[in-house]
């Protein structure tokens, strides 16, 4: 089994080398891509941050604590697009028949979709911003870092990646039926993600429900941050929510994987 595993990592790196080489065919573009992503996303954050300065806090969350919330979103997204860009953009490859090529090769389908699309440059931009925000905020908000909190942080980050990965995987599976699923993703993922910039407790109940039970962004950043910060507003939710992000991630990913498996035979390919 061990040789098989080594081969998988080797193959993943082979794909990544191809992707990075492709990007460097357009040298200037490759160099500025990470930087562009960083600046684009950071300017959004700066606007929110400066606006919040005038409020001192919202629902008990100080600006630095909000930066910590942002950092979880960006760090998880940075990791997400290394592994799930192929699924995020999957409807495109169903639409143009690129998935045919993947089906013709003697490797796992999901493995190929994942590793042939790892977006390292954007990952550096998003992840770099996540790390910057983390460094800016983590020391100033009174988290005591010890072995428990560090391990929890890593588990929660992984869970957060899996939650979003599960959504991309489920939407990718949906494109076997619909061919184009872009609009659903726009509403379901990108719109909901905007709410995740704030503590969910400031929103009307309906949005809170959506953020917890439908598109569970609350488990990507709000509840993990609560575990580390213990703000007042956590009283409105079951305490267990602070601990279960890794479980939610694993469970949702598993469900999405089952959906993917059962959807594969509905692939129609596009005619010549």
């Amino acid at each position: 089994m061990n040789t098989e595993k080594n081969d998988t990592i080797h193959m993943f790196l082979c794909y990544s080398r191809t992707i990075i080489k492709s990007w460097f065919q357009y040298k200037l573009d490759a160099c500025i891509r990470s930087f562009t992503v960083f600046i684009r996303e950071a300017s959004g954050i700066i606007v929110i941050y400066l606006t919040l300065q005038t409020f001192k806090h919202i629902n008990g969350w100080k600006p630095d604590e909000l930066l910590f919330l942002f950092s979880l979103i960006f760090l998880s997204y940075g990791i997400l697009i290394i592994f799930f860009t192929g699924l995020r953009d999957f409807d495109r490859s169903v639409h143009d028949g690129g998935f045919d090529r993947i089906l013709l090769r003697p490797r796992g389908l999901l493995f190929q979709v994942i590793s042939s699309n790892a977006d390292w440059f954007a990952a550096i931009g998003h992840g770099g911003l996540g790390i910057t925000l983390f460094l800016l905020s983590a020391s100033r908000i009174g988290i005591s870092w010890n072995i428990t909190t560090v391990l929890y942080y890593i588990a929660a980050l992984t869970g957060g990646v899996l939650i979003q990965g599960a959504v991309f995987l489920a939407l990718a599976s949906l494109s076997f039926y619909l061919i184009k699923s872009n609009n659903i993703k726009e509403i379901f993922y990108w719109n909901m993600r905007r709410f995740a910039n704030y503590p969910i407790s400031i929103f009307p109940k309906l949005i809170q429900y959506l953020m917890i039970y439908v598109m569970p962004f609350a488990f990507v950043n709000y509840f993990p941050a609560q575990f580390l910060l213990r703000k007042e507003d956590m009283h409105s939710y079951p305490q267990i929510f602070m601990y279960i992000t890794p479980l939610v991630g694993g469970f949702l990913y598993f469900l999405a994987y089952l959906f993917w498996k059962s959807s594969l035979k509905h692939y129609k390919s596009t005619g010549n």
Binding site: T18, K21, S22, D100, R101, L103, L104, K268, S269
Partner: protein, 271 residues
Amino acid sequence: MKKPIIKLSEVRKSFKISKRANGLPGHIANLFVPKFDMKKAVDDISFEIYKGEAVGFIGANGAGKSTTIKMMSGILYPDSGEIQIAGFIPYKQRKSYVSNIGAVFGQKSQLTWDLPVIDSYELLKNIYRIPEDAYRKNLKMFTDLLDLSSFIEQPVRQLSLGQRMRADIAASLLHSPGIVFFDEPTIGLDVVAKERIREFVRYINKEQKVTIIFTTHDMQDIEKTCGRIIIIDTGKKIFDGSVGELMNLSSEDMDIESIVRKIYEGDIKII
């Protein structure tokens, strides 16, 4: 008795086609109450192919050629019927099956657009786990036969269509498959480029005993490469025989192109 390497029995495949009333109101109505027609793309097709055969697979546009090829290469599930190729059921055992086949699609490249041809080959070597010496040997052979050396270091996006097609063919054969599907590999090529590909197909079929399935609209492709022809029309097999047998269908002295045209148009009936 020899066993066939490819066996299709009573294979069927239909697609849902959404049926729309004309005009904007029709389109909007369709959003709420979608209406579908089932189009039979492949309707009860059976045939057997033996190792080392070269079979021309022809039919008018929309006759079901591509759908059949896609089912044979494990891309699509048939609705019913059985497919057995090289001891595998393609759509069920995809991962172990596909190493045994090569597929060349004239309309879709499998090379990485922005990278030199050789980089795509290196990636394929890893994907198919091709041993280094076999890879070297095949690469050398295809470079000579298809004359790749002048552009193998160039990015795919800079290649002419004929060069890209040759590069694509080599890419599909690097892992030494025993069966190769050529789906319109000569489409859009000039006479010289076509001839070169035909020669190559003939060579791997005769010298390397590779089993070939060849779809095309150019009857010269068939005449020059294939010993046997299968014609399908509206999802059904209407002819299966040698080039000679096809020629005998007409009493007049006609070339193969005209005979096939008359079959499509219904002027020659086949029982």
